[in-house]
C-alpha cells in the first residue's frame, strides 16, 4: 500500500472535550483527499496534530511508511508537510516575499538576501501558476492572492504533502476555479493534498477519496467516484439534509431601500462606490453578486452609517438615512449581519448573553433609566439561543468560546429578532457546515415571507442563485446588471461579475 500519510487511531483531548477520538486517516501518494465534517467535528484539530501544532494523546503517525513524532511545525516542514491554515498565517505588514521566506530566509553576509528570495518566489509562482506580486504588502492584496502566498509558503519549503484547511470558504468563484487548477497542477508535480471543505460540490469535483468525521470520531473513508453529495452529507451529519432551499416566489411590495447616485470613498480616498443606484423592496431578497473588492463592503458600510457617503441619497421607507450615525440607522429599522463577525459582529469577551443586546441595551426592557436589567437581558438571550439553536454551555459563556457557526447563529438571531424593515446579510454562511447553512437560509426566507426586505451579499454563486429573488451584479463601484436567478446561469453571472459583458448595464 502506497500511503504518504497515515494517521492511525489518533486521539486528541482538550480540557473537557475529546476533539479527536480514534480517528484514522490514510492518504495515498498523488491523491486529493477530502476531510469532511460538521463545524467543530475535529478536522482542524486533526490537521494541526499532523502539522505538529498539537501533540496527540494517543495514536501513531507514519509518513511514507515510517513512524514519526511530529513535535513542532519544523519537524512537519522537514517531513515535507505543509499546511494552508483556515485562518491565514500571514503577517499583514510584511511583503509577500517576506512572508514566504520567514523562518528559512536566504542569507547573504548576515542579512536577508531579499533579491534572491524574490527571484525564487517568482520562479515558484511561474512553475505552479500562482500569480503574486513578490513586493506587495499582504494588507494591500486580495484574499485570493493571500491564499496563493500561503500555498507558495509551503512550496518554498519543499512541501510534498499539502494540507488545505477550508481554502475555498473565503474565495470568489473565479478564485475557487483558479485554486482548483492550482491543486491539479500540484498533483501533476507529484504532490499529495488533504482538502478540508464544507462544499460537497468541490469534493465531487476534485477529490479522489473522502474521510468523514463526526463529533470527533472517524466515520470512514469513501471513494468519491462511488458516492454522491447526499450520501456525503448524511454521513457527515448523521441524518438526511436537503440542499436547495424550498421557497415560494417572492411577493415584493413597497420599496424599502432606495439608493440614488451614491458615491463612497475608501480610507485611502479612492472612489469605491460610483453613482450607484439600487432598490430593495419589502418581501424580496436581492442578492448582491460581485467579485470581492468592487465596492460591496463600502456600499454596505455607507448604508449602515459606518462610512461616510461622499454624495448621493440613501432612503429607507422614503426617509433619508444618508450619513446618519450607525445608531440612528439601526433605529430606523436596519439590521446588519456583518461580513467579519469577529471584528464587528461580537464583543468576543462579553458573555454571549450580553452580546445579544449589543444594539438594544439602552432600550427597555433591557435597561431602565440607564441601569441595566440583567434578568431581562438574559431572559431574552436564553429565548434567542433556544430559537436559533445556538450551541453554547450557557448564556454566561464568553462569545469567544463558541464555534464560528454558533457565533454566526447568535448574530443572526440578534439581528433578525429586532424585526427590522431591512436585513443586510453579508456573507452570512461563510465557513459554516451544510447543516448550519440550511438553517440560516431558512431563516432568511422566513423573514422575507414576513415582508422584510433582505439585501444579501455573497461571493458564493450557489447561495446567490438559490436565495435571491433578484440579483444585482456589482462591478467597479456600480450595479452593472440586474438579473433574475431563473433567467440566468452561473456562467453568465460570472462573466457579468468580471465586467466583460455589460450589455445589461443601466437596465433599471
Amino acid at each position: 500500500m502506497n500511503y504518504v500519510i497515515e494517521m492511525l487511531n489518533i486521539r486528541k483531548e482538550f480540557p473537557g472535550i475529546v476533539a479527536n477520538d480514534n480517528i484514522t486517516l490514510q492518504v495515498k501518494q498523488g491523491e486529493i483527499h477530502a476531510l469532511l465534517g460538521e463545524n467543530g467535528a475535529g478536522k482542524s484539530t486533526l490537521m494541526n496534530v499532523l502539522f505538529g501544532l498539537y501533540q496527540p494523546e494517543k495514536g501513531e503517525i507514519k509518513v511514507r511508511g515510517e513512524s514519526v513524532k511530529i513535535t513542532d511545525p519544523n519537524v512537519a516542514n522537514r517531513l515535507g508537510i505543509g499546511m494552508v491554515h483556515q485562518h491565514f498565517m500571514l503577517v499583514d505588514k510584511f511583503t509577500v516575499t517576506e512572508n514566504i521566506i520567514l523562518g528559512s530566509e536566504p542569507i547573504k553576509k548576515g542579512t536577508v538576501d531579499i533579491k534572491k528570495a524574490e527571484k525564487e518566489v517568482e520562479r515558484l509562482s511561474e512553475l505552479y501558476g500562482l500569480r503574486v506580486d513578490p513586493k506587495a504588502r499582504i494588507r494591500d492584496i486580495s484574499v485570493g492572492m493571500q491564499q496563493r502566498v500561503e500555498i507558495l509558503k509551503t512550496l518554498y519549503r519543499g512541501a510534498e504533502i499539502l494540507i488545505f484547511d477550508e481554502p475555498t470558504a473565503v474565495l470568489t468563484p473565479q478564485e475557487i476555479k483558479e485554486l482548483i487548477e492550482i491543486m491539479r497542477a500540484l498533483i501533476r508535480e507529484g504532490k499529495s493534498i488533504i482538502l478540508i471543505t464544507h462544499k460537497l460540490k468541490e469534493i465531487m469535483q476534485v477529490c479522489d477519496r473522502c474521510t468523514v468525521i463526526r463529533k470527533g470520531e472517524g466515520i470512514g473513508t469513501v471513494d468519491v467516484a462511488d458516492t454522491n453529495p447526499n450520501e456525503l452529507a448524511s454521513l457527515m451529519v448523521g441524518r438526511e439534509v436537503t440542499f436547495s432551499t424550498e421557497k415560494q416566489p417572492a411577493q415584493p411590495k413597497d420599496v424599502t431601500l432606495a439608493i440614488q447616485d451614491l458615491n463612497v470613498k475608501d480610507a485611502r480616498q479612492v472612489d469605491m462606490v460610483k453613482s450607484l443606484n439600487l432598490e430593495v423592496k419589502a418581501g424580496e431578497i436581492v442578492g448582491l453578486a460581485g467579485v470581492d473588492g468592487n465596492g460591496q463592503s463600502e456600499l454596505i458600510e455607507a448604508i449602515t452609517g459606518l462610512r461616510k457617503a461622499d454624495s448621493g441619497d440613501i432612503r429607507l421607507n422614503g426617509k433619508s438615512i444618508t450619513n446618519l450615525t450607525p445608531r440612528k440607522v439601526t433605529e430606523a429599522g436596519i439590521s446588519h449581519i456583518p461580513q467579519d463577525r469577529h471584528r464587528f459582529g461580537l464583543v468576543l469577551d462579553f458573555p454571549i448573553g450580553e452580546n445579544m443586546v449589543l444594539q438594544t441595551y439602552h432600550h427597555e426592557p433591557f435597561s431602565k433609566k440607564g441601569v441595566l436589567r440583567y434578568k431581562e437581558i438574559y431572559q431574552k438571550a436564553k429565548s434567542l439561543i433556544e430559537e436559533y439553536d445556538v450551541r453554547t454551555p450557557s448564556v454566561y459563556t464568553k462569545a469567544r468560546a463558541l464555534s464560528g457557526g454558533n457565533q454566526q447563529k447568535a448574530i443572526i438571531g440578534r439581528e433578525v429578532d429586532r424585526s427590522p424593515d431591512l436585513i443586510i446579510a453579508a456573507q452570512p454562511t461563510r465557513g459554516l457546515d451544510v447543516g448550519a447553512i440550511e438553517f440560516i437560509h431558512k431563516k432568511l426566507i422566513e423573514e422575507r415571507d414576513k415582508g422584510r426586505a433582505v439585501l444579501l451579499l455573497s461571493f458564493e454563486l450557489d447561495e446567490i442563485m438559490n436565495l435571491s429573488d433578484r440579483i444585482a451584479v456589482m462591478f467597479d463601484g456600480s450595479i452593472v446588471a440586474e438579473v433574475k436567478p431563473e433567467e440566468t446561469t452561473e456562467q453568465e453571472l460570472g462573466l457579468l461579475m468580471a465586467g466583460s459583458k455589460q450589455q445589461k448595464a443601466g437596465g433599471q
Binding site: 502539522f51 501544532l53 498539537y54 499546511m83 503577517v91 510584511f94 523562518g103
Partner: protein
C-alpha cells in the same frame, strides 16, 4: 552670545541628556516589536545604574581607566539577566505584561536600595571617581561649524547610543533575526507555523531590552548622576517608553524622539538666558518640554500603529 554658541550650548546637553533614553528606548523597541510590552524599562534602568555604579566603585583598581566601559558592559549583562524575570512572567507564565513590568519597577528599586544599604551601610553610594568624560573627537571636531557642534565636548557613549540606534535598525530590518522578531510581534502563530520558536524569540527580545536599558541606566549614572540612590533614575524609563511609542516602534524613530526630548529639555534650560524669554515665569520653561511633546504628537505624529500582537501572551493552538 552668537547663534552658533547658542546652538552649541543646546546641542551638547541635548545629546548627553538623550543618550540614556535612546539606548533604553531601542531596547524597548525590540521588546515591544516582539509583542512584549515593557513598562519595566524604568526598573531595568535602575538596575543598570545600580550595577554600573557598584561595579565602577568596586573594580576601579582592577580596570583603571577602562572601568567605566567595563562597568556599562557589566550593567548590560546583569540587567539582561534581571530582565529574564519579566520574560518568565510574561512569556512562560502568560502574565499580564503590564503587571509584570510594574513588578520589575518595584523589584529593581527595592533590590538596588536594599543592597546599597547592605553593602554601603547607607542609602546612597559614594560618587565614582572614574566616570565618563567628554572628549573632542579627533579630526572631526576640527570641521568648521559641524565640528564644534557635534564633535567637540561629547561623550563617546552618546555616539555609542546613536550607533546602537542604527545597529538596532539594521538588525530589526535587515537580518533574518529581525524579520523573525517582528513577525513574532505581529502574528506569533504565523511565526510558529513557520517553525520560529515564539517563546525563545520573546525571551531574547526582552533580554535585549534588559541589556539596552541596563546600558542606558548605567550611562546615565556614569555621565550624569555619578552615584546611585533612590533619586538616580526618576522617570527616565517612562520617558524612554514614551520615546518608543513616539518613535512608532522604530529604532531610528525612537532615537529621534529621545533627541527631541533632549532638545526640548535643553531648550527650556537655555531659554532662561535668552533676553526675550527672561521674564517668562519659570514654570512655563519647566513644562515647555512636555507641552512641546504633546503638541508634536497632536500636530505631526498622530496615530501610531502598535505591533499587532503586543500585550498578548502566545498560547499555542489558540487564536
Amino acid at each position: 552670545m552668537g547663534f552658533l554658541d547658542i546652538l552649541q550650548s543646546i546641542i551638547g546637553p541635548a545629546i548627553f541628556f538623550s543618550a540614556p533614553l535612546i539606548l533604553t528606548a531601542i531596547g524597548g523597541v525590540f521588546s515591544e516589536r516582539s509583542g512584549v510590552v515593557n513598562i519595566g524599562l524604568e526598573g531595568l534602568m535602575v538596575m543598570g545604574a545600580f550595577v554600573g555604579i557598584v561595579f565602577n566603585l568596586t573594580f576601579i583598581d582592577t580596570f583603571g581607566s577602562w572601568t567605566p566601559w567595563v562597568s556599562i558592559f557589566v550593567a548590560m549583562i546583569i540587567s539582561a539577566i534581571f530582565s529574564i524575570i519579566h520574560a518568565i512572567a510574561s512569556v512562560t507564565f502568560r502574565a499580564d505584561q503590564v503587571v509584570s513590568g510594574v513588578a520589575i519597577n518595584f523589584l529593581a528599586l527595592g533590590l538596588g536600595l536594599f543592597l546599597t544599604k547592605q553593602w554601603y551601610g547607607k542609602g546612597q553610594t559614594d560618587m565614582v571617581s572614574r566616570p565618563f568624560y567628554t572628549t573632542d573627537v579627533p579630526l572631526l571636531s576640527d570641521i568648521p561649524i559641524i565640528g564644534p557642534l557635534f564633535f567637540s565636548g561629547m561623550y563617546l557613549t552618546s555616539y555609542v547610543a546613536i550607533a546602537f540606534a542604527f545597529v538596532g535598525w539594521y538588525v530589526l530590518y535587515k537580518t533574518p533575526f529581525g524579520l523573525r522578531l517582528r513577525s513574532v510581534g505581529e502574528h506569533p502563530m504565523a511565526a510558529d507555523t513557520n517553525g520560529i520558536n515564539v517563546s525563545r524569540m520573546r525571551y531574547v527580545a526582552v533580554m535585549i531590552s534588559g541589556a539596552m536599558a541596563g546600558l542606558g541606566g548605567s550611562v546615565f549614572a556614569l555621565t550624569i548622576a555619578l552615584n546611585f540612590s533612590h533619586s538616580t533614575i526618576v522617570g527616565q524609563g517612562f520617558m524612554s517608553l514614551a520615546a518608543v511609542i513616539f518613535g512608532k516602534w522604530h529604532p531610528l524613530g525612537a532615537m529621534g524622539a529621545a533627541l527631541f526630548f533632549g532638545f526640548a529639555q535643553s531648550l527650556s534650560i537655555i531659554s532662561s538666558g535668552v533676553p526675550l524669554l527672561q521674564d517668562v515665569p519659570q514654570v512655563f520653561l519647566l513644562i515647555a518640554p512636555y507641552v512641546l511633546t504633546i503638541l508634536a504628537l497632536a500636530g505631526v505624529i498622530g496615530r501610531a500603529e502598535a505591533p499587532k500582537a503586543i500585550g498578548t501572551p502566545y498560547i499555542k493552538g489558540s487564536r
